[in-house]
């Protein structure tokens, strides 16, 4: 994937660039908003990763100007501004995701993956009425889930949880991503509500003693697989 990274702190920029390159992404790293803006207008990127607080043209303004100029690449804003209002301003400013510094690298990588997946395929993925991973089928219109032909009866939140996993097969979905997308709580609860719902979902999916399609990635999140290994 081709990623534009705008970050003024050299060490962080190098760290993120190295990490993303190791994951197989192509990274264009810039330290100035003006240059980054010019690049978005002349080149195509799959994802924009913009630091909000940089001198000169800041990340959020860069994004606004890029959006006005017709750039539609999904964007993640990175910011040390963690306030409730700051998040709202970031998302209202045209960002698709808002990640508060400091963050775990795995969190950024997972969010980039989820956004990139949504982007070019996004409209098709949203429009499709069936999600299929392995022997799990989800009918989004009738809101029915089947595993190997057996209907699995899910609560609304369990349904949303599974839906988000099915939309990101074989990719890491972090706990905070699930909290944001499935529960939209806007804060980090101290209780393991993701874990408790996940264990119910698993119990229902595997009620007939099937193998568990959901793998827990310790300390990070979950991945769903079509074929259990």
């Amino acid at each position: 994937m081709r990623i534009l990274l705008l970050e003024d702190d050299r060490e962080t920029r190098d760290y993120l660039t190295r990490g993303l390159k190791e994951l197989g992404h192509q990274v264009v790293a810039e330290s100035e908003g003006k240059v980054a803006l010019a690049r978005t207008l002349s080149e195509a990127f799959d994802i924009l990763v913009l630091d909000r607080m940089i001198p000169g043209l800041d990340g959020l303004t860069t994004l606004k100007l890029a959006r006005e100029a017709g750039c539609q690449s999904p964007a993640i804003i990175l910011s040390a501004m963690a306030g409730i209002e700051d998040r709202v301003a970031g998302l209202e400013g045209g960002a698709d995701d808002y990640l508060i510094k400091p963050f775990a690298f795995a969190e950024l990588a997972a969010r980039i993956n989820a956004l990139a997946r949504r982007a070019p395929l996004g409209e098709r993925a949203n429009a499709q009425s069936m999600l299929r991973v392995g022997d799990i089928e989800m009918d989004l219109i009738k809101r029915i889930v089947r595993r190997a032909g057996r209907t699995v009866d899910l609560q609304p939140r369990e349904f949303s949880l599974l839906e988000y996993l099915l939309r990101n097969p074989e990719r890491l979905v972090t706990r905070t991503m699930l909290l944001d997308r499935v529960w939209n709580l806007g804060f980090d609860p101290k209780t393991n509500i993701v874990e408790t719902h996940m264990s119910r979902l698993r119990a229902k999916l595997n009620a007939d003693g099937e193998s568990d399609p959901i793998r827990t990635v310790r300390g990070s999140g979950y991945m769903i697989f079509g074929k259990a290994d």
């Binding site: 040390a80 508060i100 690298f105 709580l185 209780t191 300390g219």
Partner: protein, 472 residues
């Protein structure tokens, strides 16, 4: 001193004193005018008597009797100074007895009054009514007796009139006094209500409130402007306090973030499982610290009330139900129960903050109420307020701690061993205040109940919101 301390008491005291003064004044006027008129009646009687005795010196008894008879008849039609206003009725009476005691002139009288002054002589008036007169009886040289009397009716009428005037005046003064007392009381009450309203808002955490001024230059205005200066000082102090804690928390984040980043880089590069594990532990500790700062920043942000700009109408019922469903598996997992009885209530607010408030309360129960504590949430509409009661049947808290638990970073003895920063309930209180509401903790016989009161949508929240500064 037993001076009254309330406006009501002072007003009643003032009314009683002015009524007594008026009554005393009236009584004095009645007394003196009574005396004066009585003296005038006496003087007239004496003048008449002297005239008649002089007449007797030059005439005999029969002539005097004739003269007395004529005079007695004459007074019935004449305008005397004691006569009624319309001239009717007689005011003077005359009578004469011969030396043998037989009445020879004047209206017939049943008894012959004694010599000298008789203050209350019963009389029959020409119009048939009865009354009393002041009478002077004198003995003539030959033993005949002469009586001149003046009707006291005029005196009574004068007394009545003056009393009437005094009582009317008293009534008028009491009426005016009562009206002005009530008006004064209302004025004071209204002004004090605006002052105490502003103070109450500040107590509840809205430091931007001021007492409205109306440029009247009144005493209240002066007090209000002094209070406003004080409120401004409080606001400035609170702001600088918040600013300092925000700055510290904010400035700590940047270096901590860099340390975290470098530690993560090290961990990802390391191939040694043991050092990876210990670095993972250090990162987790760092995250807890960052979490504490984030929590502190969030509480001060909500306390600043800027969040009110984004308030929208929202269903409190749905928000609570969302959170309850999110936490239900966590309760179930430990074999604990969570029950919710939710009426249909809407408020103006921020959905995420409201959910966070409920979540914090449920997390408190999960973490601190004891292993078997169940939760029970009730949402009801009471007097236009949304009342949320979050009750548990756990180990509870001591009543001394009821207020303390809402303060920042306060952790009770028994929870020191568990995770957390002591920010959950401060956030609950900050969110409740931002929503113009209140929160209190009640240590019940079994467990702890947190009661929230938030103005509901049907209670004119738009009015409250319009008092806020418009978004910058």
């Amino acid at each position: 001193m037993l001076l009254p301390r309330t406006i009501k008491g002072l007003s009643i005291l003032t009314a009683v004193i002015s009524a007594l003064v008026i009554l005393a004044l009236g009584a004095t006027v009645v007394f003196f005018s009574h005396e004066e008129i009585e003296a005038q009646i006496g003087q007239r009687i004496e003048v008449e008597m002297n005239g008649l005795t002089n007449y007797r010196r030059r005439h005999n008894n029969a002539q005097l009797a004739q003269f007395v008879q004529a005079r007695d008849g004459l007074t019935t039609t004449v305008h005397g100074f004691l006569a009624n206003g319309d001239g009717a009725g007689r005011t003077m009476f005359y009578a004469m007895w011969d030396p043998q005691g037989r009445q020879v002139a004047g209206a017939p009288m049943s008894t012959r009054p004694p010599l000298g002054w008789t203050e209350f002589l019963p009389i029959d008036r020409v119009d048939g009514t009865r009354g009393f007169a002041r009478a002077l009886s004198r003995r003539l040289p030959d033993g005949a007796r002469l009586l001149v009397a003046g009707d006291r009716e005029a005196l009574n009428q004068s007394d009545d009139r003056i009393s009437m005037v005094v009582l009317t005046g008293l009534g008028a003064i009491l009426l005016v006094g009562a009206t002005s007392t009530i008006a004064f009381g209302r004025l004071v009450h209204r002004r004090l209500a605006t002052i105490s309203g502003a103070a109450q808002s500040i107590i509840e955490g809205d430091y931007s409130r001021r007492v409205p001024l109306d440029e009247s230059g009144s005493e209240f205005e002066r007090i209000a402007s002094i209070l406003n200066v004080m409120f401004a000082r409080i606001e400035a102090s609170m702001q600088s306090l918040r600013q300092v804690s925000s700055d510290i928390a904010h400035d700590m984040r940047a270096p901590l973030g860099r340390i975290r980043r470098d530690m993560e880089a090290l961990m990802l590069r390391s191939s040694d499982g043991a050092s990876q594990a210990s670095m993972g532990k250090m990162i987790a500790e760092m995250d807890a610290l960052l979490d504490l700062f984030a929590g502190l920043l969030d509480v001060s942000e909500v306390q600043g009330f800027a969040v009110r700009r984004r308030f929208l109408a929202l269903s409190l019922t749905d928000a609570i139900s969302d959170v309850v469903e999110a936490y239900r598996p966590s309760f179930d997992q430990d074999g604990r129960k969570i029950e919710a009885t939710l009426a249909d209530v809407a408020i103006m607010g921020d959905g995420q903050l409201v959910r966070r408030l409920i979540a914090n309360l449920l997390e408190n129960i999960l973490a601190h109420a004891g292993a078997n504590a169940n939760a029970r949430i009730t949402l009801s509409l009471e007097d236009g307020n949304a009342r949320i009661a979050v009750a548990d049947d756990g180990t509870g808290i001591s009543p001394i701690d009821q207020e303390r638990i809402f303060e920042r970073l306060v952790r009770l003895e028994k929870t020191r061993s568990t995770a957390g920063h002591g920010l959950g309930l401060s956030m609950v209180r900050a969110i409740a205040s931002a929503h113009f509401g209140t929160v209190e903790a009640i240590a019940t016989e079994q467990g702890l109940t947190i009661i929230l009161n938030l103005p509901s949508l049907n209670e004119g929240m738009s009015g409250l919101l319009s008092k806020q500064d418009p978004p910058a």
